[in-house]
Symmetry: C3
Subunit: 342 residues, 3 copies
């Protein structure tokens, strides 16, 4: 692709370099070669610009590089532009319409004609598989589940009874959608009485779920992941939770039951959310934080339990010298006692 066309497709202005330059792929600054376009978005990587072998680079407004031998495409958001370029160079492979002969599909299931169903897939009674769906090997779809158009399920995924997956979703390998919630009532003699888990999970359109996740069904009713939410690997979503639109949930985060995560919320890695909470829209919990209280919209909080991120930064800085602080207080007490005795 010529640099001029790439610029056009990414709403970029060519600031340096020939519009005729051929760009064949995109890659990070460290591994890019002469035919690649790269990007600089994080100032941490500015030193890599000096050494990169990339042929072109997307730059945000105001960022300058001291290299005349690299074409420069000026953009509003270098990371978005780079992503758009990557998406052009690596388009999704089109669906091949086939159902492998070893797939076991119940006769009562409804399967669109243009789907890709790999070996050993099992599809239960009254399940419905939409147009353009791709299901890799060893996936199990239980009775009554529904998979929306153009969705991809990777090998080892289980979709439990009556769950519903939207359109254009991607679920990575070995994830479980709709397993039983962790619900027990404690009897007088301290045994655990299982609460039936007969609800389901609804995943709306354009959701992505990583590998080895567990998203539990509701006891009664539904757990819901809303449009555009993105969930990383090894995440736990408890029963009856709601995850808001365009929320971002990083790896190994866990939500206990019945919590409501607002739109565009970001939960960084290994966060914990207790049960029956409300996390307001656009709130952020930083990595390894946990809350057992509601979170106001737009707040960034940290710690266990989590509180305002700026205060937490100050507290953790002081914590590093807490042993000295305790020693100093003991010293002050002695000196004060001496003064008092005078």
């Amino acid at each position: 692709m010529k640099l001029s066309q790439l610029a056009k497709e990414t709403s970029a202005v060519i600031e340096q370099g020939s519009p005729e330059l051929e760009i064949t792929s995109a890659a990070g600054l460290d591994i890019a070669g002469r035919g690649d376009i790269s990007f600089l978005a994080n100032p941490k990587y500015t030193p890599q610009v000096k050494e990169t072998r990339a042929g072109a680079v997307f730059l945000n407004g105001g960022v300058e590089i001291d290299r005349a031998d690299i074409a420069v495409l000026r953009v509003k958001d270098a990371y978005v532009a780079y992503t758009l370029a990557l998406r052009m160079f690596f388009p999704d492979r089109p669906v091949e319409a086939f159902v492998h002969s070893t797939a076991v599909i119940d006769p009562s299931a409804t399967v669109a004609s243009d789907v890709e169903i790999h070996a050993n897939v099992v599809i239960g009674r009254h399940a419905r598989i939409g147009s353009g769906v791709r299901i890799f090997s060893n996936v199990t779809i239980y009775d009554g589940a529904k998979i929306g158009c153009d969705t991809v399920l990777h090998s080892g995924v289980s979709i439990r009874e009556n769950c519903e997956i939207g359109e254009r979703c991607i679920i990575q390998n070995n994830s479980t959608i709709g397993s039983h919630g962790f619900g027990y009532a404690r009897t007088e003699d301290k045994h655990w009485l299982k609460i039936p888990q007969v609800g389901r999970v609804v995943i709306e359109d354009d959701v992505e779920i990583g590998a080895n996740c567990s998203i539990d069904c509701a006891s009664v009713g539904e757990s819901r992941i809303k449009r555009g939410a993105k969930i990383d690997n090894l995440v736990q979503i408890g029963h009856s939770c709601t995850v808001g639109e365009d929320a971002l949930i990083c790896a190994q985060t866990g939500l206990a039951g019945s919590s409501v995560i607002g739109d565009r919320v970001i939960l960084a890695g290994q966060v914990g959310i207790a049960g029956h909470l409300k996390v307001g829209d656009d709130a952020v919990l930083t990595a390894k934080s946990a809350t057992s209280h509601d979170v106001e919209p737009g707040k960034t909080i940290s710690g266990i339990p989590a509180f305002d991120n700026r205060h937490w930064l100050r507290s953790t800085a002081a914590f590093r010298r807490l042993g000295e602080l305790a020693q100093k207080v003991r010293d002050l007490e002695k000196r004060l006692l001496t003064l008092e005795k005078k």
Copy 2:
């Protein structure tokens, strides 16, 4: 079901409403409709009682609601009564006796006649499958494993060599029982020498294990999950651990090797237990806590490392203002110095 019969089955007293009222299902206060019975156990949900459309509600002794239009069933424990009602309205589906034609069962395996074995299940040499067992698709049972009567294994589960699962257990999707423990001896030249992992896992009766869990076999001997223990999703149980009867282990908790968890212990979400420890009966670790020391029976502990929960609450409250505290100590020091110089 008539209200009078429901009351009888749940040891409840009808305090308000007609004994002839028809109740057709059970649900939480927020989603219940006119034919449903609901419950109020957590005071946090008292406001929902005003707005619920439920036709009846279980209440604990002493709890009053200001609604004449809802039938009231007075019980000792509203949550247990609600659970019993749900279990009546949603009984387990009976086992259908079939072995799918694609299941691969070694001729040396012993399989009871009234089992439900779905597509692509693989059962190894000398494995034994008890009466009433239900095994969903794509489950792998290795050589010598034993599955007790009326147990359910969901799709994607792996049961490793010689492991033994008790009766009436439920294992959710994609969990691994009996994989190798993480055991290595460090050689003089700093390589890791694998310690053979030839033990097994024994899971006793009435245990439930969530989705995507890993329970490791012992190197020699066994790891054991005792009767009635309940384990949530994404939990790690290291080699040679013992989990006590009726213990409750919440999601994403991890046990290193050779620890012994007592009866009725509760480990909340994302807890960590170091190796070679003993957690006494009825102890509780709150969410995200971790211990590398033994825990006394009945204690509730918190933090990393964990200590008495009440002290921890006090410490975390002070932690929020630790930056100010450090500043105040610096100020006091200055003022003291001024006094000392007088």
Copy 3:
């Protein structure tokens, strides 16, 4: 095996007991019987020596036991010697060369003749399976993946497109190698634009990976696990990470993207490593710690965020009494005020 031969194979000196003594197996002190050899490496277990029924025991230099009825093998490292003994008593089962009739192998794949391929394994286009490989049931190997000689893949494992696994690796059940990295660019209207994930994972020789792990492919380029690294269960390795030789990563640890973990690094359980970091060779992060900064080689750090382990121990000790400390500072302030007013 005679004690004399065992001593020879483990570079031990017989200090007590008959060289003719027959040893038939090895086990821990608590479960060993008369025919077993055991070991004492952790002083915590010294009391068990008094009660063990083991017939022989490996001891490090300087360690004495007060039992004349147990044979003593003196060694440099009792744990390594015990491991060597276990490996002799429990050798790996040899590969049985067979391909199960239900395995689905694409005609374009290259599969060595002496492999063990169990039921329902699916192997994609142009995949390559080396000599001596063992693949258990319900494994899925995507197009273009390569499995090195003598590697073992347990049931439920997924190896994604073009990933490469070295020789003598072991991957436990339900782990995912090469799923999509968690990469999105945020657009101006706050949606998440998926960044193509078209790189791969390379796992070098002698690596072990536990059950239910997720190791993401790079967006472009590769994620790499180097020779001899050992990874426990439920571990998350983000896209474009590098894990060094002989690194040890314990259960439920998570690495965000693009971090580089040095050789022989130890990450204990439930550790978190933020993105774009460098953890130096031989560094140690203790359990539940997290870092968002680079770590110097050889350092042991702890806490969230992590700092020097000795300082952290001091800070956590003071933290237990932080409520009292805050109270004491308030008291001191009052007393100081009284003095100042005089």
